[in-house]
Subunit: 348 residues, 4 copies
């Protein structure tokens, strides 16, 4: 069976495993204060072109989102997010558990617009009983979004402007950041993120690492005491070097983007292949997630050899499904998939 | 100026003030363990026909909602509410501050339906990654709702059935309960509430008291240690007798319903009067809140002598406004209002 | 029976009841934005000699402590308090419920010293794994303390200095502030508090009001958005004028201090009377609480006519008890108590 | 330099690294629902002799403690812990951040006694204002404790009895459990823990794994929905199999206890060696942590080649320090340490 259900079905990129093995017997101090974390930090600062960036390594995405948001907001503030945002629908209320309302806005293709944010703030601050309503304190974006769409540089700049106008922190969740940067037509690099965001994170779990997310903090006010917050939220890994070694490896010889590009190419093959076969798509995506519309019979047939995610019912005879590729996707798997897709094209 | 902006612009019903004055020098134990609280409790139990009901007195509505919800839910659970529910939009995120997501559903005229609740639970429990999603743990209704609409007994019974099927607590916010019960056509009394709800509260602040809400707990599991929860949330009034005396008075000689009926009659006069004058309504209401559609010019004209709430923009030339009556509304004020409304009818 | 168990056994001072009655039918806006709140605010600012003080009115002490502390601290910070501090032992964990550890220090006679605070901060910031430990963010004092002792001006000034050195907020709980100011030898007035504290509150519940505490915020950073915090914690009274009227009355014609002085005089009569009779004291107190040591037989005898609090066991044959006076204590009650105390002096 | 500062300075046991490498390219479902987690779960159930035990794998200790405690307690409850308990002093208030007070009791050699727990509960439930005080809801033990001491089976049985009497959950933190079980004279095995505790965890991070703690839940009421809690606290590892593979390996061929015994032997060599040289000890320990008393000069001398933890000042000329061994400690390092210790014995 080939798994396309998500982008974390394998272990880590072999280069990472090699480095973990090589360093396994070394003795280092704990909690991210070792040599490897320092080296990884430096490489990320260099990529961002900002020696003043604070870089912290956490284990997973939900933990990272909760830690960042809790560290940034005051108790009466909430975080603006697209309705489909991970923090709104797939973290078992971790943000609310830390005391903050997710202020969900409809979103278009998983994205928020500067205009929406502007309107939400205007509505809040012109309400005569504003103190009875959660105050917007932060904007949460994911890039790529949950459905693989991307912000353009222009869009991000506009959002940044609105954030500054209303005093909102801008936080970008980059759990799949590599796949976004590797997408054709994407015009956002680490330098732009460092310039536009107050804080963002670079996903490792879905992009080659065993686990790990690198939080990059640009806003001075958010830097203070962030390690206390990591520890309190249970995110400070005792053997912190495991994160340092992984990110150090990912940012050596451009590995992060190289393997991201592979995933995107595999996704493009899937997209182009299905398209040529005449299949319909639930939405367009330039990244490593492809959303197809299949019939129940097609789903049943493909499920024998492939795992993939049921996304949502389109109508009684059509269901949207998601195929994910990753740094680890084998070309052979994609070819088999397309061959089988050709064979079952006519199954209603 | 006459105030119609809300139902808490005056102090308390004169009978309550009289009782507070008469008992002012008495010495009683604190924290709701005095004679008057006991007596008020007994009267409410009698009204509900249930000697086993636990009755607690709190100061205000937001406090009450937060205390009840926090006491009932486990950390990973959320509360289903209409989007317009008070807990969702007008409590500065007090529920989220206590760790729980408000699971907002569209609602129709401010109401949830049994079917919606059913669908939300079904969606949750058939999701293969349900553990990544907040679990519905409670249904929150308000009766009357934020826009003055009412549940019928049949609707409540259906909702109850769904709650039992899925293991949800049923909580009814009765901040304006008197005005609901006094509405023409309402078929829900205290006995029905005690039978159908796991917990509900009887609003005093908006119905004749200086302040105060009486929480009635029917479900055994929710009764345990509730006083600890009140204290922790800062809701245990030192001179608890102030609440006991007020509710004792409200439930002596049927005062609560008598004054509620007055408010509803005043609201009906406003409704019928404006209707006769040809004004349009934003929505229908049988209770003490009436939602009218006015032009900006009409709003400006009426604002000289009357205060009322701007509800929402209908279109560029029409705005929905809310007029509230209460136990304290003077007939004279309503008559003046209608006279002035007649005079400005033609202002666009 | 005469009640000496606490200082909130009666309603309110007659002057307050009179004002509440006189204004009962007036219509005012809600949530503390009425004329009376404005007037009370002004009087408190004048007493403090600081027009820039922010003044907010809340209902009760636990609510006030939780709201202030939560508004001031970041998530990883805790609040230094004497072990006997109200927030540490008598608020059902309200501070922890808002996410913050109470960092309890032994205290001497219920008081913290500048030196202790200094040492606690030094210990924290010289610990190499400080990020694994809750960071001190605030000092919580009560004045008078839980056992009726008082800070001197010099002590407060020293504490202030240490707070500034380590970046700690200084918060003073004045639930019984009047009784402290009225104590003989006390050298702290509103002006000193406004100068030395970042935030403090003036207790009404125990000093003549039906209920109510006036929070005075001096530090600019703590002023921002405080009303959101009050609302979120369930402390924003709908009919806010009830608080305004009460504090306006308490600060008219020096009523607050006048009635406080009465309570202290009554306490002094109790102290001096018991002393003359040869009773022992658990600790010294200049304020309205007196702590005596009685035998079980004496306790039983006095309990027939008087209520008072059992404080703690001293040894198997001696128990410390607390007698509280208040603005409402009747001279007649004190005289009877002393007469009965004389009669039972010899009961072991 | 040789590191003795803690028991997590290296990576993982070579056998674990081997298994991680071998399985690296396999595709598995995420979030702990893979084959390896299943197999590890089964082995732990077998060791406990209880097929009904629920076993979950989390990443680190603070995360585990916070998740278990939050899942078990109601909002008004706190957790009894020794003052030196990890949750009380070394988790940046993670328990309070989840809303619960740590009810710290003095402890003797880091341990709580049944009697202390009994007295704390009695004090709570006989207090007439118990609702104003945090209710004890759970007992937190660590075994070994923070200073390497151990509970005997008889002590645990007594504690269990008190817990049952007062309705307290019994939770045992086994971050160093292997080192406890391998200690000479220890009479507690997995079977006893499963019988006596409501929930406990088996530490991996400090005992041979890269990271990971295995939570074993015995009490039915605590099993329900625990995965939601893990996810909400940010502890659900996407590639959950990493934990499964590690614990599967640790519980294959008794590896967990074998490597624990090595650590204890190394600690015993240190203990016996220093003892023979005439050094004093801060406290006795049978496990992998040894607490010595050194002079500042000795500390300086040893620090050139060894890292170890400064524990606390004993007096002006003596400081307690901690040497930790682990599964990875090299005999060569211990021998060098003892040789150097001999050389500097006379340095004051």
């Amino acid at each position: 069976m080939w798994r396309f259900e998500c982008d974390y079905t394998e272990g880590a990129h072999p280069e990472i495993m090699k480095r973990l093995l090589e360093t396994n017997e070394e003795q280092t101090p704990g909690y991210g204060e070792d040599f490897y974390c320092g080296q990884a930090r430096k490489k990320i600062q260099d990529l961002c072109g900002r020696a003043d960036a604070d870089v912290h390594f956490l284990v997973g995405g939900t933990q990272t989102n909760a830690t960042v948001i809790r560290a940034a907001l005051r108790p009466h503030q909430g975080v603006l997010s697209a309705e489909s945002g991970h923090i709104n629908v797939h973290e078992t209320g971790a943000i609310e558990a830390s005391g903050h309302k997710v202020l969900a806005l409809p979103g278009e293709y998983g994205k928020l617009s500067a205009r929406q944010i502007q309107e939400a703030c205007q509505a809040h601050y012109t309400d005569s009983s504003q103190e009875h309503i959660v105050q917007p304190g932060m904007v949460y974006l994911s890039h790529p979004t949950e459905i693989g769409t991307l912000y353009s540089l222009a869009e991000l700049q506009e959002i940044r402007k609105v954030c500054q106008e209303w005093g909102l922190w801008l936080f970008l969740d980059g759990a799949r950041l590599g796949y976004g940067m590797a997408a054709s037509g994407s015009d956002i690099s680490f330098r732009e993120l460092a310039e536009l965001c107050d804080v963002f994170y670079i996903g490792g779990t879905k992009v080659g690492a065993l686990f790990g997310e690198a939080v990059v903090i640009m806003a001075s006010a958010l830097k203070k005491d962030f390690r206390y917050m990591i520890k309190q939220q249970g995110g400070m890994l005792a053997k912190g070097r495991l994160l340092g070694i992984q990110f150090d490896t990912l940012f050596t010889d451009d590995l992060y983007l190289k393997i991201s590009r592979h995933a995107v190419q595999m996704a493009e093959q899937i997209r182009d292949g299905f398209q040529k076969l005449g299949y319909s798509f639930f939405c367009e995506s330039q990244t490593n997630q492809q959303f197809l519309i299949l019939s129940p019979a097609q789903i049943e047939a493909l499920s024998e050899k492939y795992s993939f995610s049921i996304w949502e019912e389109v109508d009684q005879e059509h269901i949207a499904v998601r195929f994910c590729t990753s740094w680890a996707t084998k070309e052979e798997a994609v070819e088999e998939l397309l061959a089988d897709a050709a064979a079952i094209k006519t199954q209603a």
